[in-house]
């Protein structure tokens, strides 16, 4: 039996609700000024979404693109990634840092990966540490 429109819609609602619960969001209060506020209201009205929903879908990819718009942002990206990994040991799915990682702009190894690597390739690990000295 093929899936009906309603069952598909309800499944999508459930998925998005699960996503909201799983991911940690912060509500931020912004005063965007007249120009941005009026267009945001208009896009919100036309799309039938709340301003927050309109923005939330786009913000992470915009932030990722902005972060890589200048090489001078490298330190800020590192600082943010370090803080994020200290907090959660992994990056939030879909966040700007996650997008940067998928684009191979940043990469990281966690402690577990390092241990495994050390056991599988002990000589390589040793020579690498020797290189640093």
């Amino acid at each position: 039996m093929s899936r009906g429109i309603l069952s598909k819609m309800i499944e999508e609602i459930g998925e998005s609700q699960a996503e909201i619960r799983a991911e940690d969001y912060t509500m931020v209060n912004v005063r965007p000024g007249e120009k941005v506020a009026s267009m945001l209201d208009l896009v919100s009205g036309l799309s039938g979404k709340t301003p927050s929903a309109v923005i939330a879908e786009e913000l992470s990819s915009r932030l990722a693109a902005y972060a890589t718009s200048s090489a001078t942002h490298a330190r800020a990206i590192l600082n943010a990634a370090e803080e994020a990994l200290k907090q959660s040991q992994m990056l939030q799915p879909g966040c700007a840092l996650d997008i940067l990682q998928k684009a191979d702009v940043i990469e990281f190894e966690n402690g577990f990966e390092k241990q495994i690597k050390g056991k599988l390739f002990p000589s390589e690990e040793g020579s690498q540490s020797g290189d640093h000295e």
């Binding site: 969001y25 509500m27 209060n29 965007p32 945001l40 209201d41 927050s52 915009r62 939030q92 840092l97």
Partner: protein, 171 residues
């Protein structure tokens, strides 16, 4: 005349003019082109609550700190770029102009913040905008005098559909 348009006060300067003064202002005598300060249309200070991923907050803060601006300034910059790209993604000139002018009508712009070019050639800009909205072109077109010619003979389908949808939103 309302009370806030009248003031009374004493002046003692040691001259023959000393005594009780009464001062009145008459807003109804202001030229029609004056700003809306008396009409009560104050500058909007709208706030939006938006959901941002916590790790995005960390990156916003790190970038903002490096650039010496607030997180809010950075968010607003990205929002502006996003909305501008959305607007520019509309292919039809008349539909894009309709969206822009509708948003502008809802905004209460500060004259000090508008570009100088609008001060210099504002009339020409409005004329150009009028042509785009009416003829879907920068230049005036000769309307067909055929009795069966549609009302919006020059406008794109996107413009006509959008205009109807915007009417629904404004209600």
């Amino acid at each position: 005349m309302s009370d806030h348009n009248v003031r009374s006060f004493s002046v003692h300067q040691g001259s023959v003019l000393d005594g009780e003064f009464t001062l009145r202002i008459k807003p109804e005598r202001f030229p029609e082109t004056s700003d809306q300060a008396f009409s009560g249309k104050s500058k909007s200070d709208r706030k939006f609550n938006i959901r941002i991923k916590q790790h995005d907050i960390l990156l916003f803060d790190a970038l903002a700190e490096q650039e010496g601006v607030s997180r809010s300034v950075l968010i607003n910059r990205l929002l502006h770029d996003f909305l501008r790209d959305e607007l520019m993604s509309v292919q039809e000139d008349d539909a894009r102009a309709l969206l822009a002018i509708t948003a502008d009508e809802q905004a209460n712009y500060d004259d000090l913040a508008q570009p100088w070019v609008l001060d210099a050639i504002g009339w020409e800009c409005r004329h150009l905008l009028g042509n785009v909205l009416k003829f879907n072109s920068q230049y005036e077109q000769q309307p067909s005098d055929h009795p069966g010619a549609p009302e919006n003979q020059f406008n794109s389908e996107a413009f006509i559909g959008l205009r109807d949808k915007l009417k629904g939103i404004k209600k």
